[in-house]
């Protein structure tokens, strides 16, 4: 250690302590969630709160799935169905559209791209009422379809992101493909998509998370408990017939509802961080 570094030592120690304190404050609610999820109904209300439960009530998790009043398993499955189909729809449609914007010029294509970007600023609450009336008139109320169908028509964020990526692929590649007799669709399917792995992964991760966490549209469309997705099912648990809010069950549910996102994060940490940086989405 040279002298300059020794001089910096106190300020670096202070920095370290600040970060430690803030991190502890950020993580404390999470630990509280985990610990409550494992407490019995009696222990969850004990004050001051205990960090480590006296008895580990693993049965809370079983209760979530076994209790037919809650229908947690069904709702978990519904959320998975909606999220998976949304991912498939978004990836297919957005990549098709982005390919069109990246590779072909046409009269009005510049203007249309501006339109794509401008829909980024279109808040969902501003257009939800006509969409709701439309789907209701089509008889799709209280089904998962209104939550899935729109993703098959492209998402502006994803189109933008993929277009940026597709334009970086060299034109010679496509010329070579054409000389080999590839159809335009094969240029998209066999040439572009395989090269776009990282970008497609980012798109998939984000459309999964958006769909997984969405509350507003399920609230509008879903009426019966067995059709609920997880967010609305959990909100319903809070306001339902339980006399004391079942905080241990609610925390267990929150924990399980966070699980897929943590798994994605763990599997694709670097890509996930890149994706956040790329898209600026939280």
């Amino acid at each position: 250690m040279n002298r300059a570094e020794i001089k910096q030592l106190p300020s670096r120690l202070l920095l370290f302590l600040i970060l430690l304190a803030v991190t502890a404050a950020m993580l404390a609610p999470l630990v509280f969630m985990l610990s409550t999820a494992l407490k019995t109904t009696k222990e969850m209300l004990v004050y001051p709160p205990r960090w480590i439960p006296e008895v580990f009530a693993w049965s809370n998790f079983r209760e979530l799935f076994a209790n037919s009043d809650i229908k947690f398993g069904q709702q978990y499955a519904n959320s998975l169905i909606v999220a998976v189909f949304s991912v498939v729809g978004t990836v297919i449609s957005s990549s098709l559209v982005a390919f069109g914007f990246a590779r072909y010029r046409a009269k009005g294509s510049g203007f249309l791209f501006m339109l794509v970007l401008s829909t980024l600023m279109l808040p969902y609450p501003a257009i939800m009422i006509p969409q709701f009336l439309l789907f209701t008139k089509l008889g799709l109320h209280d089904s998962l379809l209104p939550l899935i169908l729109p993703s098959f028509f492209g998402s502006a964020y994803m189109i933008f992101l993929l277009r940026q990526f597709f334009t970086t692929l060299p034109g010679e590649l496509y010329d070579a493909g054409r000389i080999d007799g590839c159809s335009e669709f094969r240029l998209y399917w066999n040439l572009t998509l395989p090269l776009a792995g990282p970008a497609l992964a980012t798109v998939s991760i984000f459309s999964f998370i958006w769909s997984w966490n969405d509350l507003l549209s399920p609230v509008l469309y879903l009426d019966s408990q067995e059709n609920f997705t997880l967010p609305i099912g959990m909100a319903a648990m809070l306001s339902s017939k339980f006399r004391i809010a079942p905080w241990n069950l609610l925390m267990a549910a929150s924990l399980l509802s966070t699980l897929p996102i943590v798994v994605i994060f763990a599997l694709a940490q670097r890509r996930f961080v890149q994706g956040i940086v790329l898209t600026g989405i939280k």
Binding site: A126, I127, S257
Partner: protein, 299 residues
């Protein structure tokens, strides 16, 4: 010449072919709702009976509706406190973590981790953390001798509880700033140091200008998002106590889907659209002066 034209037509054909999913989607899920929403806003509509044209009646009624004004006040209150504070906090922690410190990776992940619990899970968790009897927050405050607060039952505190809760999600913004900071070339800082700039001066003259586009972007996203707060109001507070968390979108939701006044609620959603566009335009316009784009003004 003819061949070029033919080639152009071929390209155009493929462009429209590939873009067709979005074109259809744009017409059905964007253009039609925007237009329909405006039309409905001029009517009384309960979905059972046909819409009845009332001209500007809904808008006139809105301007005399106390709940409408309340929802605007509540939403702006939240925006003005939560957005700037979260933005500054996430920048500060990005700056701190960007410095040489042991366990950087751990700190970064730990601060981002809460952002993964989003939406309803986060609302439930914080409802529980703010529980007056057995919650973590009052327990923490009790170390400093603060009496238990009934966070979501007391109209003085409910909004503050939601603001505190919003800080907890700052990890996403922090990551974006961190990426921006890593793009600031080190030689600029060295040059500033040679010129005798201290840390503070170096931040304002070098770092901030370089990341100002990121800052601007996050400001706009933050404002647009906070105009649309719904989850917390729906899950935790139901707009209460005494309308202290009666957010704008929650107000739209209640009027449309609980009171079945689709026309009235459409007027409100149309105004939201105008407000979002106006605010975005305004921020971009104002920022033109001090946002720095490498390689000259981008616009």
């Amino acid at each position: 010449m003819a061949r070029v034209r033919k080639e152009g037509r071929r390209e155009a054909k493929y462009f429209y072919l590939f873009a067709s999913p979005w074109l259809v989607g744009f017409l059905v899920f964007a253009l039609f709702p925007v237009a329909a929403s405006f039309y409905y806003s001029l009517t009384d509509y309960d979905i059972i009976h046909a819409p009845v044209y009332v001209g500007l009646g809904n808008y006139r009624e809105l301007f005399q509706d106390e709940q409408f004004w309340k929802s605007i006040r509540v939403t702006l209150q939240y925006t003005f406190v939560s957005v700037p504070l979260t933005l500054v906090l996430s920048l500060v922690f990005a700056l701190l973590i960007n410095r040489k410190v042991p366990f950087r990776g751990f700190f970064r992940t730990a601060m981002y981790f809460p952002s993964m619990v989003s939406g309803v899970g986060m609302s439930l968790l914080w409802f529980w953390v703010f529980n007056p009897q057995a919650g973590l927050f009052n327990y923490f405050l009790s170390w400093f001798g603060v009496e238990p607060i009934h966070w979501f039952l007391d109209e003085k505190y409910a909004m503050w509880a939601l603001v505190i809760m919003s800080f907890w999600g700052m990890g996403g913004g922090m990551l974006i700033f961190l990426a921006g900071l890593q793009g600031v070339p080190a030689h600029l800082h060295e040059a500033a140091k040679l010129d005798g700039a201290g840390r503070w001066r170096s931040f304002w003259s070098v770092t901030f200008p370089m990341i100002s586009p990121v800052f601007l972007f996050q400001l706009i996203i933050g404002v647009i998002d906070s105009f649309q707060v719904f989850t917390q109001a729906y899950t935790i507070t139901q707009g209460g106590p005494n309308y202290s968390t009666w957010f704008y979108v929650y107000n739209i939701y209640i009027n449309a889907f609980k009171n079945f006044r689709y026309g009235y609620a459409s007027a409100m959603s149309w105004l939201l659209l105008v407000a979002v566009l106006a605010i975005t335009y305004l921020i971009l316009k104002l920022s033109n002066r001090y946002v720095y784009y490498e390689g000259g003004q981008s616009r």
